[in-house]
Amino acid sequence: MICSDAFKATADAMADVQGAPGYAYLTTPHPVAGLTPEQVRERAESVVDQVARLLSE
């Protein structure tokens, strides 16, 4: 899972109520909504290694 860093508190709380405290997920800098398609692509590229690591751990 990836969310923007402004939603960390909610993401952690969701993990708790779903019975998975400490669930590992990635964050990307907030905001995301106003980004251009190119900027979104850059964001994706910046986390792709971390996504691979998270999935293979």
Partner: protein, 358 residues
């Protein structure tokens, strides 16, 4: 019994509620089993009936939990059927079912009551409907807020992700001023029998006044509403929904000029909107395909700048009601968060006589 209540004991119980995290910031009424029983006696619904379940949070609210929170909100037991109907009414909204309660928008339920119950419970319908000062108007919406907090665990900064919210989020509840409205009551328009006790509720985002004591021309008056409704800040998607709480004076002026509620809606649908140049200037001229048509800034001009885009798609997106005092021509535009269900819920009251207090 002539013994006066002990304020220190009361305060101790109130502070206990604060320590448990049960309050919205204001003191709550500590609820005893005896008080809870009085609330439950006002409905024939099973205390264990689940009103709503939020699967993703693993939490639910039963009739009994609703009663506890209504008691803590300061409701009288006889308000409880209104609280239940208000909850059922708001949960008909797609947005409320779809996570709207946790939205960054921080939407507020707008609770409108029709029928003779308004008089019986002394629900304010006239002067100061948004201004406080009346127990049912203040405590019924607060009950919904406490249900959200205490039953579902939707608390600020965690599951409640409100960015700023709106003033008076849990305080917007009033009766329609049926006596001074020239039109049929809202619940009647929504298909319930005339005279039914009913609640209509939707989630809302803002309230903006239109003060127009300046003209007797209905079109000039409606243009003033259209100007407020048509601001670009509210345009997130292809279309929006905006309602009007008309003061009696504005409503009567329009009715006298021959406008039915449907006529007013149709006029607003035709005239509310902006030209392309305005949307482009604010970065809202492009729309995603499908879904609700999320707006964004386009890279190139799509259509000529003078092309008009209407904002209100249908009569269902323009709820109209009448409330407030007849002392000035001041009405309120409100923004619906998503789309109102366009329905009213009849208030179910237990027929058994209730033994109050002790």
């Amino acid at each position: 019994m002539t013994t006066e209540p002990d304020p220190d004991v009361a305060r101790e119980a109130i502070e206990y509620c604060y320590e448990q995290g049960w309050t919205d910031g204001l003191p709550v009424v500590p609820a005893s089993q005896a008080l809870l029983d009085q609330f439950l006696a006002h409905t024939s619904r099973d205390p264990d009936e689940v009103l709503w379940r939020m699967d993703h949070l693993g939490r639910e609210c039963t009739v009994q939990t609703a009663a506890i929170n209504a008691a803590m909100a300061g409701c009288l037991p006889e308000y409880f059927p209104v609280v239940l109907a208000a909850w059922d009414a708001v949960m008909r909204d797609r947005a409320a079912k779809g996570g709207g309660w946790q939205s960054t928008s921080g939407p507020a339920p707008l609770i409108v009551i029709n029928g003779p119950i308004r008089g019986e419970l002394q629900i304010n319908c006239t002067g100061g409907i948004f201004a406080g000062g009346f127990r049912p108007n203040a405590t019924i919406p607060r009950a919904l807020g406490l249900m959200l907090r205490n039953a579902f665990g939707v608390v600020p900064h965690v599951f409640d992700q409100t960015t700023q919210g709106i003033p008076g989020r849990w305080a917007i509840c009033f009766g329609e001023n049926e006596e001074e409205s020239p039109w049929e009551p809202l619940a009647t328009e929504m298909g319930l029998p005339l005279g039914a006790n009913a609640v209509s509720t939707t989630l809302t985002r803002t309230y903006e006044f239109v003060d127009n004591r300046h003209t007797q021309d209905p079109e000039q008056l409606l243009n003033d509403f259209a100007d407020t409704i048509s601001r670009t800040g509210v345009m997130i998607f292809r279309a929006q929904s905006a309602g009007i709480v008309f003061c009696p004076e504005h409503a009567q002026m329009l009715a006298a000029a021959g406008y039915s509620k449907a006529d007013v809606k149709d006029w607003l649908i035709e005239h509310c909107g902006r030209v392309e140049a305005d949307l482009r200037r604010t970065g809202k001229d492009a729309m995603s395909e499908g879904g609700f048509g999320a707006r964004s800034a386009s890279e190139e001009e799509r259509v000529p700048g003078d092309v008009f885009t209407p904002f209100l798609p249908s009569r269902a997106s323009v709820p109209i009601l009448v409330a407030g005092a007849r002392n000035a021509a001041i009405s309120m535009v409100f923004r619906v968060f998503g789309e109102w269900s366009n329905s009213s819920v009849e208030i179910e009251r237990a027929t058994v006589a209730v033994a109050e207090g002790g």
